[in-house]
């Protein structure tokens, strides 16, 4: 098990479901950043927070990538 998987399961989120999430703006794939607890959408230039193990998939909640 990689460190990422450990952290995700600690956060209570099913790994398969996490991998199936897409960016609400671009519908593109997301990369999980375990340190920042974010799901990063390179295609939209946005990072969506994971708070208390819950991905917040709203553009309003996302951080813009510089």
């Amino acid at each position: 098990m990689t460190q990422d998987e450990t952290q995700v399961s600690d956060a209570g989120f099913d790994r398969r479901m996490l991998e199936a999430l897409v960016c609400p703006r671009s519908h593109g794939r997301l990369e999980y950043d375990a340190d920042k607890q974010e799901l990063v959408s390179k295609s939209a230039g946005l990072a969506y927070p994971i708070r208390n193990g819950i991905p917040l998939m709203l553009v309003d909640e996302a951080r813009s990538l510089d």
Binding site: G12, D14, M17, A20, H27, R51, G53, M57, L58
Partner: protein, 280 residues
């Protein structure tokens, strides 16, 4: 674009947060309708289930217990309600329930389709119901189905009608709103909703009213409290800046009217919900 931004704001506001404060009373009251819906859904042990408008997670938890080898994803648009839901799952020890904050009307769930969609009272709040139903049907695999319950009209539900008239009598009525606008009673007309489902392209559509009992805790007094703190009486109180005295008077009037539902110390309030089922 957050198309359901108004709902996100409402469910994080003091009115929405009352669902956390009165969670036990409301979940207990609605246990019967939840059980009925999950029975109809015939959840398989290894099903992948999506629960729309899960709020503080009572429905997600119960669905997860019925799918011990599957997974349940609770989706809601309210951050505080989901945070509470996540706490409940952690406390329960269940490993197969997780949550996602998203606008279910537009969010693309199709990458990993579900066997079953359930919703306890969460489907009637979308700004565009046809778009939401269409989007959520794409969240299902080819044999997937939806089973959800929504409130029938206020007139058929003393749980709403009695507090509403008690509050109106004390404080005056509000301007008549559109009961079919996004909200708890928007899906009160089975034929209308069946038509929306048809327009969304789903099949095997069934829509029918089901009589249930609401079983809030704390006898008639507890029932009156829960029914007054959330719903039409609370809205009227807020609109008229009602006082503590108004609140007490309304609750008292509701309690008197609820006496008829007393069954040896337990309140059993007859209610009607509409049950909707379809396949993708």
């Amino acid at each position: 674009m957050e198309t359901n931004k108004a709902q996100a704001d409402y469910w994080a506001s003091p009115a929405g947060l009352k669902w956390i404060e009165h969670e036990h009373a409301l979940d207990s009251a609605m246990a019967g309708m939840l059980r009925m819906m999950l029975d109809v859904a015939e959840i398989g042990a290894s099903d992948r289930v999506i629960d729309i408008g899960c709020g503080t997670g009572a429905s997600t938890l119960d669905a997860a217990r019925r799918a011990p080898d599957g997974t349940v994803l609770g989706v809601d648009i309210s951050d505080p309600l989901l945070a509470r839901a996540a706490d409940r799952v952690n406390a329960s020890g269940l490993k197969n329930a997780s949550f996602l904050l998203a606008d279910a009307q537009t969010y693309d769930f199709s990458a990993q389709p579900f066997d079953l969609l359930v919703s306890r009272l969460g489907m009637s709040f979308f700004s565009d119901s046809v778009a939401a139903l269409k989007n959520l049907s794409n969240a299902l695999n080819k044999d997937g189905k939806m089973v959800f319950v929504c409130w029938a009209s206020v007139e058929k539900n003393p749980w709403f009608a009695i507090p509403k008239s008690a509050a109106e009598e004390r404080l005056g009525a509000l301007p008549k709103g559109n009961p079919l606008a996004p909200g708890p009673t928007a899906f009160q007309d089975c034929d209308r909703v069946a038509d929306l489902m048809d327009r969304a392209g789903v099949s095997d559509i069934e829509a029918r009213p089901v009589d249930i009992l609401l079983t809030p805790p704390g006898g008639v007094e507890g029932a009156a409290r829960a029914a007054s703190k959330v719903g039409p009486a609370a809205r009227i109180m807020k609109a008229h800046n009602g006082t503590k005295a108004d609140e007490a008077a309304i609750e008292n009037a509701v309690m008197e009217a609820f006496e008829g539902f007393d069954d040896a110390g337990t309140a059993r309030v007859p209610a009607v919900v509409n049950l909707f089922t379809c396949s993708r």
